[in-house]
């Protein structure tokens, strides 16, 4: 187990490095961050002005602008080459300095800290919804495999997986919030109860398609497990079917779901960008979209890094958990 963990930690470190470095280089090389900080001033030929090569009628103003540019460059390390900038940026991260938003001079860490809880609540609720729906659904479908309910649920899950989540969100918003008014249509943050209640629709939007894919995995594995000797044994002993299902068959059938759990979180995070937009939730997803549209480079970078690293670490934890669940994995 120790070697297994060590190897996974080494891989984790390598991936974290590659993810941050690639993301950082992409942001720095594809666009010009200087333009985003100081706007048109970035085109000022400051070296020329200093050397007196460029005739400028408003030398005073120009040199003041040049000071601004130089200050911005120094603040965001823009006067350094990209690899060095990366090292400095990681150094800043290590001291908890995520940079400052170009737009409103707020520290990025503060922006993230304000927006993170909403997104976390949403993601957790979405996973609760998906597991809460998928487990009973998969159990019933597998219990009466290839009967009417199972066939119907195959069709339903296929359809559910074909709805783009933004479309599902709009349809749910219309039906459940506007037409029948079961749930609020907008985000509420007055108290925790109201918050959770207003998050039900977004969580359904994210969770239902996921439930469909969990259900498919669980059903397939359960059907296999139900043919195993120990299940026949339990049945022969005369245990009630429900007890066999939940105490004996369910646990060994959860491997696929656990595996997909980590991967699906990435899809959920992607989905939360869209869902937060539909339901007006002030979370990370909305923040990053706004930041992209405003070219707010430090915020985009910080959030992308946060999301990617969370995703990597989460998959790492799932792998460990998986190795602990299933000893065969450790051997490899």
């Amino acid at each position: 187990m120790a070697r297994f963990v060590l190897r996974r930690v080494a891989l984790l470190a390598a991936v974290l490095f590659a993810v941050t470095f690639l993301g950082f280089s992409a942001m720095n090389l594809l666009g010009d961050p200087l333009v985003n900080v100081v706007g048109v001033l970035a085109e000022l030929d400051c070296e020329g002005i200093e050397a007196g090569l460029v005739e400028d009628t408003t030398v005073d103003a120009a040199s003041r602008d040049c000071d601004t540019v130089a200050a911005a460059k120094a603040q965001y390390h823009l006067d350094q080459p990209v690899p060095l900038r990366y090292v400095l940026w990681v150094g800043d991260l290590a001291t908890g300095d995520f940079g400052t938003s170009f737009q409103n001079d707020q520290p990025v860490s503060q922006v993230v800290r304000e927006k993170l809880p909403e997104t976390l609540i949403l993601l957790v609720m979405a996973q609760i919804v998906s597991l809460g729906v998928a487990v009973p659904w998969g159990v019933i479908a597998a219990y009466r495999a290839n009967r009417a309910f199972d066939r119907g649920s195959t069709v339903a899950s296929f359809g559910l997986l074909s709805v783009p989540n933004f479309a599902l969100g709009v349809v749910l918003l219309y039906l459940l919030a506007l037409r029948w008014q079961v749930f609020p249509s907008a985000y509420e943050s007055d108290n925790l109860g109201g918050l959770v209640y207003s998050m039900v629709l977004p969580a359904l939007t994210l969770g239902l398609p996921l439930a469909a894919s969990y259900q498919r995995l669980l059903r397939t594995d359960l059907i296999t497990t139900l043919q195993e000797d120990f299940v026949h044994m339990a049945r022969a002993k005369g245990l009630p079917p429900l007890r066999i299902m939940f105490r004996h068959a369910l646990r060994p059938s959860m491997f696929s779901v656990v595996t997909v759990f980590g991967v699906s979180t990435g899809a959920l995070i992607g989905g939360s960008l869209v869902v937060e937009q539909i339901f007006g939730i002030p979370g990370i997803g909305r923040e990053i979209v706004t930041a992209v549209i405003r070219d707010d480079f430090p915020v985009v970078l910080a959030i992308v890094m946060l999301v990617a690293c969370t995703f990597v670490v989460l998959n790492f934890l799932v792998d460990l958990f998986y190795g602990w669940l299933d000893p065969r994995v450790r051997a490899r």
């Binding site: 690639l22 296929f158 933004f166 219309y174 296999t224 992607g270 979209v289």
Partner: protein, 325 residues
């Protein structure tokens, strides 16, 4: 216990099968850095006869819908439709009528015409993305699977890094920094397809690279390039091709999500289903002019459903195993 005259599959066998599937799943997911020590030996050749199934009538319904979409997408400018960007004479938020089949939106533009024109970007991006993903991912996957060794490890690591970004977040990272033209958006979504397609190509290459005909080609002195192109490629293309439509469904949804966030192809004349849905998704429009959002939702759902359904049938027809992605 006389287990011999049992007709049902032995439980042990099913456990083995599951173990090997888990192992496969596991290998695709994580242990990209570990050199594979064994190759799954169930090449599709043996049970080919059992595989040939009918595609079924529903498959052809789905294909007909897709062909219709492709047709209207290609010929949209020539069809007798209202101008999708001009304000129609009937006024804003008109309900569906004989004049405007899908009604008009908040700016009084014809929703039917916009839906038809929206197919252009959605399908163009979807098609281009999957072709790009297949070309680049397929090439990388085959080369990695054929040569193995350090090259394989490097490519595997790249794929793993790519998959460490949630797809939509990676797409945003790319589109954030470039101007959002049709080419950039298509390329972005194409890049997203590289790693999953590459993993598939690599996995199938591993299977075939151990087969006798490849060994035979090597024995008679064929060069690497010839083995890859003449022996491996025709075999690897089948599972990849079988997953084309499924990949395209994902690409169409990805483009829709970007458009929904306002990060797909920029410009007023760049109509896309995702953009139309977000235009009609304001509470006021949803309340009073539901058709503005619901018609593009319906058309998009039918298209993605058709892609998924036809794709799934083709996958079954060619007996391609589902992968972790």
């Amino acid at each position: 216990m006389n287990g011999e005259d049992r007709t049902t599959p032995r439980p042990g066998a099913s456990r083995d099968r599951r173990a090997s599937r888990q192992r496969l799943l596991w290998r695709f997911r994580v242990l990209r850095l570990v050199r594979p020590t064994e190759v799954p030996d169930d090449g599709p050749a043996g049970d080919e006869a059992a595989v040939r199934r009918r595609l079924g009538p529903a498959f052809w319904v789905a294909v007909a819908w897709l062909l219709t979409m492709a047709f209207v997408a290609v010929f949209a400018p020539m069809l007798p439709l209202a101008d999708p960007t001009e304000v129609a004479y009937s006024g804003p938020r008109e309900s569906p009528s004989f004049d405007a089949w899908f009604g008009t939106d908040a700016l009084g533009r014809d929703v039917f015409s916009r839906t038809v024109h929206g197919a252009r970007i959605s399908l163009a991006v979807g098609g281009f993305a999957i072709v790009f993903g297949m070309a680049v991912g397929g090439a990388l996957g085959i080369v990695a699977g054929y040569f193995r060794g350090r090259l394989d490890q490097a490519v595997g690591f790249l794929f793993f890094v790519q998959l460490s970004f949630p797809a939509l977040v990676l797409a945003i990272l790319i589109t954030a920094t470039l101007e959002r033209s049709l080419l950039v958006v298509s390329l972005t979504i194409g890049i997203l397809a590289v790693a999953p397609v590459g993993l598939l190509a690599r996995a199938s290459t591993l299977v075939y690279a151990e087969r006798e005909f490849v060994a035979a080609a090597r024995v008679i002195g064929a060069r690497h390039g010839r083995i890859i192109v003449r022996e491996l490629l025709p075999n690897v293309v089948i599972p990849m091709g079988a997953l084309t439509l499924l990949g395209m469904a994902i690409a169409v949804v990805a483009e829709g999500s970007l458009a929904f966030l306002g990060l797909s192809v920029a410009g007023d004349d760049a109509i896309s289903w995702g953009k139309m849905i977000v235009d009609g998704a304001g509470l006021r429009d949803l309340q009073n002019a539901t058709h503005v959002a619901m018609f593009p939702v319906a058309v998009m759902f039918l298209t993605v459903l058709s892609l998924n359904f036809a794709g799934d049938r083709i996958r079954q027809y060619f007996d391609v195993k589902e992968l972790a992605f």
